[in-house]
């Protein structure tokens, strides 16, 4: 994950409290999604960025998971996401993010 974005996440956790944050991912592949989810929950696995060794335990979801989808505006979803929903391996993305969340997140919605 971009080092600048790692810093922004760390700053947000300091400012608002980890328990109040929910990270939503829009990754294109399951492997990338897994790394993002691990980074925000358990720290940067590459030990390169500000989240290295920082276990925020944030609640992290893929945009296509039912818990998030059910909260989305239906018309906006149709307009912005329905196309990508057909193209991407949404099941693989959701399984990847959930597995990291189950292992490392301290919070959920």
């Amino acid at each position: 994950m971009d080092l600048q974005n790692q810093q922004r996440i760390k700053d947000a956790a300091d400012k608002y409290g980890s328990e109040n944050l929910v990270v939503v991912l829009g990754s294109s592949d399951a492997e990338g999604a897994e790394i993002y989810a691990e980074t925000v929950a358990n720290g940067d696995p590459t030990f390169a960025g500000p989240l290295a060794g920082v276990q925020l335990g944030l609640a992290v979801y893929d945009i296509f998971e039912d818990d998030i989808r059910s909260e989305a505006d239906e018309a906006a979803w149709e307009e912005n996401l329905s196309m990508m929903e057909m193209v991407l391996d949404t099941e693989g993305l959701c399984v990847a993010v959930k597995s990291m969340r189950d292992e490392f997140s301290r919070f959920s919605i």
Binding site: M1, D2, N5, R8, I9, A12, Y16, N20, L21, V22, V23, V24, L25, G26, S27, S28, D29, G32, Y36, V40, L58, I63, D67, I68, S70, E71, A72, D73, A76, W77, E79, N80, L81, M84, L88, I109
Partner: protein
């Protein structure tokens, strides 16, 4: 009350997946505050 009500959202989009603004459009009325929304790209 929705599941996201009162939460702070961090939206991490991807250019080849779902971009930040697309997620923002879908979740802006979810009762949560969007703290930031980004779109990363890998080239």
């Amino acid at each position: 009350m929705g599941k996201l009500t009162g939460k702070k959202l961090l939206l991490l989009g991807e250019r080849d997946g779902v971009p930040g603004p697309a997620m923002e459009a879908c979740l802006k009325d979810s009762g949560a505050e969007i703290v930031f929304s980004v779109t990363e790209c890998f080239v």
